[in-house]
Symmetry: C2
């Protein structure tokens, strides 16, 4: 029985509050299902570290992490002291890119007991997966300013897509859709406005789709697609999107289920050449940090995704995942509830309630 | 009393179905309030025209339109025969850009009688304006492919922002916010991921904001902002966004009010050097075209915005606008309703009901 070594990086803000609950539940489930996980606690990749060292991470960060099996990540960002693009490009976005975590998988599900913003929706009406390209596309630091500081100032920002990077995430999404009962894939695009990259992206979706004739594909422009996440969420099964579009859809989707405090994500390197990273979709939420009221469910659910991925194909991880998700379901149905769910429980109370159910 | 000359361009799909209703109501309101409007009917800027001529518009399109006072526009796009990026870049996006319609103003409002997707929202809870930059930014045909057709294929897509283009739309939004009772402005950004243009965009919002100390400004990343459109719509007053982000938000916002069939838009050249363009937010909707069931309200409301803009500062246009919006309100509260509103009325029935109320 092999030991999995996992970096635990809490980061900033509520990342520090939800991490202990995530660790407790993940460790408990691992023990129960005979999965041997050792957590390595890391204080860098945080704005606290930046305050002291003038950088987000030590120079040997890659050497320290690359032989681990996974990274369990809280949230990063503290804009009052470090601009977001500095903190994020100096940590999370580096991990995604340098560890080639090219799939960002984000389940969206409506649970019983969660007061959602949509009228007349039952659990089951909202149940889809967002597959986000996670290493390239619109997220770049490529470009620059011309006539800087003058009235004539012009800014160029480049988006960069590769066939390699696009095809593999599309293929991942088609494979996933093919395995699901509905076999539906929605491809986010904006080929009517963004005139070079997006028509090309559509043509790659068509090309890869040839290998998956069973999958029913539907291309939708990001504007109307966002509208349909609200108006017709039951239409969706697997949704594949570029980095930026996936970012938007994977906050919007969870919002329609009541709170982004629930949404987990798996930043996967499916080749397993590098550690994959598991984190809540929500950020560091400076506005509520310090009160101990952050919802720990996204962190806990991310731990479940991690156990499943670590032991893929062996069954215990899947069982541990399902047990955690069931414990989350029960807690959501019966409480306690944190303020974002309409209650007044603390982060720790909700975390402990889930652990007890487990 | 001067005569306003307006091009009426129906375009494609349901553009052709909603246009007659829009014309009828706008003309009626103009007459009632003593505004002299003459419509010039134009069949080009449509995929039908493309089928015959291999281009979307005649070569002298600009000469034909530029001395008119406005363009009243249906919808364009028929992807079965003309790719969207060809039809749109060959018509609508050309108008926006060559007529320097740099503000795209899109009101979002929840009406009584419209079955909306959000639970427990009353008219008044959703009532904000999206101000979208409309000429530059993410919408470009600049960029290209390298290693085309090979495994190494790379695609570069450039976004281009100018200080000139950014400052003027920000200023427009600040002015608008300052005049409203709540004086709140939300600035859409994504400076944590899109590392050149968006931090710069934020800095321009700060710079322009110095002239509007009364306005309460809030910058929000587009992912969480989209989530809040669903979770906390009452927070918003004026929202300013880049071309792409404004596109997304102005479909998402109307979706939260029940249907994008209601949402109008004004593509403004505030300098009045060129004609401004008024059109529904919705597209040509090939899926429902031909059944006569498209909701004409967005088209009609766009006509109201046009009369207001044409006669700005003189009062009759404002009165005509308000009368049309009131007629829309009554029709929404009491029916008839098109299928998107849960009824079975036709485009013409709803249009005529609004005309009668006027
Ligand atoms: C048709 C399309 C190019 C257009 C846009 O993206 O601007 C439309 O969605 C809109 O919002 O007016
Ligand atoms: C923090 C930010 C850079 C990040 C992103 O945009 O990818 C976050 O929003 C996410 O979705 O994981």
């Amino acid at each position: 029985n092999r030991r999995y070594r996992v970096a635990a990086i809490a980061g900033d803000g509520i990342g520090k509050e939800v991490m202990p609950q995530g660790l407790a539940v993940t460790q408990l489930a691992a023990q129960r299902f005979g999965i041997d996980v050792e957590f390595v606690h890391i204080g860098w990749a945080s704005c606290d570290y930046y305050a002291e060292h003038g950088k987000m991470m030590p120079d040997d960060w890659k050497a320290q992490l690359q032989d681990l099996d996974a990274i369990y990540f809280g949230a990063v960002g503290w804009p009052a002291t470090v601009p977001d693009h500095v903190s994020l490009w100096g940590s999370l976005l580096k991990f995604r890119r340098e560890f080639d975590q090219y799939v960002n998988l984000r389940p969206v599900r409506l649970f019983e007991g969660v007061p959602g913003p949509l009228a007349n929706r039952q659990p089951g009406d909202i149940d889809y997966l967002v597959v986000r390209e996670n290493t390239e596309g619109e997220y770049t630091s490529v470009g620059g300013l011309m006539f800087e500081g003058t009235e004539r100032e012009i800014v160029i920002q480049e988006s960069v897509y590769s066939r390699h990077g696009t095809d593999r995430v599309l293929r991942y999404a088609y494979e996933l859709a093919q395995k699901r009962p509905r076999q539906k894939l929605t491809v986010a695009t904006k080929s009517n406005g963004i005139a070079i990259s997006m028509p090309w992206w559509d043509s790659r979706a068509d090309a890869i789709g040839k290998d998956y004739p069973q999958v029913q594909v539907d291309k939708q422009h990001i504007d109307i697609l966002s509208a349909r996440f609200v108006l017709q969420p039951q239409r969706f099964d697997v949704v594949v999107a570029s980095n930026l579009f996936g970012d938007i859809l994977s906050d919007l989707g969870p919002a329609t289920t009541g709170t982004i405090g629930l949404a987990p994500s798996a930043n996967l390197n499916p080749d397993r050449r590098f550690p994959s990273l598991f984190e809540p979709v929500h950020g560091s939420a400076p506005d509520i940090y310090g009160q101990g009221i952050a919802n720990p469910i996204a962190m806990i659910w991310s731990g479940a995704l991690m156990l499943d991925f670590l032991t893929e194909g062996q069954g215990q991880g899947r069982a541990a995942h399902d047990a955690i998700v069931q414990a989350i379901e029960h807690a959501l149905a019966q409480g306690p509830r944190t303020p974002d769910l309409g209650g007044s429980a603390s982060t720790a109370e909700l975390g402990q309630a889930i652990a007890q159910r487990l």
